[in-house]
Subunit: 361 residues, 2 copies
């Protein structure tokens, strides 16, 4: 069985109906598009710009960057006036730009808190990349700032809006694999020397912050539960200069209140494609390439049937879906599916994992 | 690339040359065949009888069972004289049967110790199924008894003699996936009500003893290291009478001295095909159906090449290989690759996992 893009749109709608996404991801075309300022023009910003531009309810209206020539080039490509290019010094002037309703924070992790708080004070809603911040304290401050400013805060957990992940959740909620017993998940890659992700000051930590968080978050949305016990080990094997500040590997196991147990791994020392495997009393679900921008593939034995569902969606569809959702929440005063509190929860679990692994955070 | 049976034999020989198997599994055809008494005529005994009979150096010469008619039927099929059928009362008389050099212990776990010790006292070598016993204390007594009797003791870890598992080990030892960082492994099945495996008195524990031990052992032979830290959780979700005495699920994580971290799961509540995934700095290995009698499949990216190697071997080839190895060790006074000490180690780790998970052992 091969699914078309139309099938996937239908599945996303079904999943929304199943209350995983409280608001429909479909925008009302009669409403004004939500204008976004993109803060930080690294790789992921390009995906978001393309994704938001593909929606019916979102558009890129401003850029924030320390590299003016780079920003000017991207502005020209996206019909953004030069007057809507900001840098990190004059960023707060964005308060006076009526074309900007929201910001998309795509900076290194340690800068998420500052720019989320400054944006909310400037009267803008905030879509902030994961991990939400580099400490529980910062997450709480971000939530408080957005609340005080009466602005929405959403953490950019793409997988919450991604059809294959939603399909897996729905199969589980529908009982089609029976009672879930165990989950295994992993995600990692072989990091290059000198990446900001290997700086503790910028990243907060190693692969757990960056990609392990996908497995952590997946175990939570797959079960619909919060882990009540976490045990973990971390290690650094390669003393080649990449891991002077952050760990190379983490493996952890989680126990959930229902009794579901999960085993997860993450690494910056090996290319380890993201996946999750869920085993239930009446079937199983395996999603490979579960956390990347395209090429997701679900296989399952569910309700007695074998499923083989490669996801034909291509980048930037995931960014499109998350932008569409947040804009819709802003337009219709709805709570995002992945609010700041969701990012805060993961940050607390990350802190628990590091503590269990003996890493100071 | 599809491998033939001949290729696999060659690989096994190569692996032996790589010192994972200290002795060749090839027997000298000029030597007298080693005669085995099979103790316990359950399902696995049938596989062993077929496997040993297919070797050039082993034969089944006696049976031990509480069910005389069943034993007589199997004896007739295998040209075993009725005088070489024993029961659990007269078993010790086997000492006087010169056609029996060794025994194969295929009883419920809690009976392994007694029959290993009685067999060694009867002057027979012992090939004992995994798990070796139901306590560390019993394992130590079994080793001591065989040592005192100057008899060999091997634990029937099939995977130590199985070409796909050996192939994975060799790829790792050759450095073809670089420095191993993380391993994930799982194995489980949905157990039927009333199986002896759900009796703590007979089995010692739940899925960890029975099938989780494959993942535990695999992490050890894949790394060639002993874990120095283990954390674990266990749970029982289904209160349907199957898990009154043993746990339903276990997940655990292990840290090895080199820094390799492993995440494992086992269950009696879901059909979870056994696998291991190994991720290294320069490649990866995935073996699916890693622990069953046939249908093993290795995929890898090793030395820059994509490998896809379904294993064409069919049952009882794994039992043939283990019987051949043990007989050869007896014939040539060699130490088995998986001696009692190997079973004892796993038993110690199982006890650690249960302790970490809060289960009394």
């Amino acid at each position: 069985m091969t699914l078309t893009r139309r099938d996937f749109s239908r599945l996303a709608a079904l999943s929304a109906a199943a209350h995983f996404i409280p608001a429909s991801t479909r925008a009302q075309s009669s409403q004004k598009k939500i204008g976004y300022a993109v803060i930080g023009l690294g790789r992921i910003a390009g995906h978001f710009i393309a994704g938001a531009s593909a929606t019916t309810n979102s558009q890129i209206t401003a850029l924030v960057s320390g590299h003016r020539p780079k920003a000017e080039k991207i502005a020209a490509q996206n019909n953004i006036p030069a007057s809507s290019i900001y840098n990190y010094e004059n960023f707060d002037e964005i308060a006076h730009n009526p074309a900007v309703d929201a910001v998309y924070v795509a900076l290194p992790n340690s800068m998420h808190a500052e720019y989320t708080i400054r944006a909310s004070k400037a009267g803008k809603h905030v879509l902030c990349e994961k991990p939400m911040a580099t400490s529980v304290d910062d997450c709480e401050k971000m939530i408080a700032a957005c609340k005080a400013a009466n602005k929405k805060l959403m953490i950019a957990y793409r997988c919450h809006y991604e059809p294959t992940n939603l399909r897996a959740i729905k199969l589980i909620r529908d009982g089609s694999i029976g009672q879930v017993q165990t989950i295994q998940s992993a995600f990692g890659f072989n990091i290059a020397k000198g990446e900001w992700r290997t700086s503790k000051a910028l990243a907060g930590g190693g692969p757990l912050y960056d990609v392990g968080i996908y497995s952590l978050n997946a175990c939570r949305y797959l079960t619909g539960e919060e882990p009540d016990h976490i045990a973990a080990y971390a290690s650094t094997i390669d003393h080649d200069g990449r891991f002077n500040e952050v760990e190379e590997n983490v493996s952890w196991t989680m126990h959930f209140p229902s009794g579901v147990v999960a085993s997860c791994s993450t690494t910056y020392g090996a290319d380890m494609p993201g996946y999750f495997h869920v085993y239930g009393s009446k079937g199983w679900i395996q999603v490979d390439n579960a956390f990347v921008y395209e090429g997701l593939h679900l296989r399952a034995e569910a309700s007695g049937k074998q499923l083989d569902e490669p996801n034909p969606s291509r980048d930037p569809s995931q960014f499109q879906a998350e932008a569409e959702h947040f804009s819709h929440c802003i337009q219709d005063s709805l709570e995002p599916q992945s609010p700041g509190e969701e990012g805060l929860r993961d940050m607390r679990y990350i802190a628990q994992i590091y503590k269990a692994a003996g890493i100071n955070v």
